[in-house]
Amino acid sequence: MYTQAMSVGPQDVAAKVKSAEDAAREAAFEARIDAGDFIEAKDWMPEHYRKTLVRQISQHAHSEIVGMLPEGNWISRAPTLKRKAILLAKVQDEGGHGLYLYSAAETLGTSRDQMLDALHSGKAKYSSIFNYPTLTWADIGVVGWLVDGAAIMNQVPLCRCSFAPYARAMIRVCREESFHQRQGYESLLVMMREGTAEQKAMVQDAVNRWWWPSLMMFGPADKDSPNSEQSMRWGIKRISNDQLRQKFVDATVPQAQILGITLPDPDLKWNEERGEHDFGAIDWAEFWRVVGGDGPCNRERLATRVKAWDDGAWVREAALAHARKHMNKEQAA
């Protein structure tokens, strides 16, 4: 019923004529939102609220799944068994996060296969960050520190999202995500404190490449974010893109100092007056290019997912056929 949700923008529903009954329901819904109520899957909700959530939660789920690829790239090459075991555990967590999120989205009336179909056909998006390559081992630590750090900054407010199944999923995700961030930071700390000059240079190089893409994870500037206003009003989003980005910068600068690395932004400095850091302009042309499908790894990432899905079709069917056979046997017995 909601298959078209991902391909349509937020403007499509407003134009439709509402019946008096719908208007009354919508008023009651708005009142619940204003009162800080949480919305459950079986509650009435405006069609546009449902669509926005399906879009946001499914894209979040897709990000977890596609996000397994850049890190998975280093599993077989992790430098020690300990780091390899940690990385495996982390990638397993990401798979789990995808699962929680697909489940949360399914309560809205879509199905996981429909959502995956939207991903595979390029209709649904995933986080722009996963279109960047992991070129060295240090990238894995930096992804943990910066990328998971940005994700946590984004996701903690979502634990209070007005749609309860999403909020509940986020609570689980955030708990596990903080393991990822801490282990990433710790692995960099080891390299920076005990490492050779080459290892330190490798960390700095990774930070140089991931810093700006991490800042882009918070999405377009508030003035260019068409979905934000409605999402804020509906309690789907609690803090704006720019505010979250600022919080992330302020939290990250001291962490970089402790590591002993520099952040690749000549305009980055503390602003006494604002009590926040000033930072340089984001390359929005690059952001839109990556979101539009033309980043460094977009094609490779999507092709990998589609191949896994297509090549795995016979295994999924075998499992289902096996399950049916045994169900029939049980019923016959």
């Binding site: 699962l99 296969d113 999924r316 069917e317």
Partner: protein
């Protein structure tokens, strides 16, 4: 869409924590059969010692109350205060009844 028919069914997962008295709903997952559902629930929902017992049930087997009837359904609880032990005042001399 033919791929939809091939979708593994959805299961709801309930986990009882080590010290827990009851199984708590903790999420859902897709699995071809009950055995796989339990296996996957173990992998997904109990990686950090969250529990020691798992129940899975097909989502299609669950019947839920109607949120539209919430008022009618649960209201009587409020005007029958005599159902609660705290409603009854007893002399101070009587402890722990």
């Amino acid at each position: 869409m033919s791929s939809i028919n091939k979708e593994w069914p959805l299961w709801e997962v309930f986990v009882r924590s080590k010290a827990g008295l009851d199984h708590k709903h903790c999420g859902s997952l897709h699995a071809p059969d009950a055995k796989m559902a339990v296996q996957m629930a173990r992998e997904v929902y109990t990686r950090r010692q969250e529990g020691c017992s798992i129940w899975v049930v097909l989502s299609s087997q669950i019947v839920a109350s109607d949120p539209g009837e919430k008022g009618m359904y649960f209201d009587p609880a409020e005007d029958k205060v005599y159902r609660h032990p705290t409603f009854y005042q007893l002399p101070d001399a009587i402890n722990h009844m």
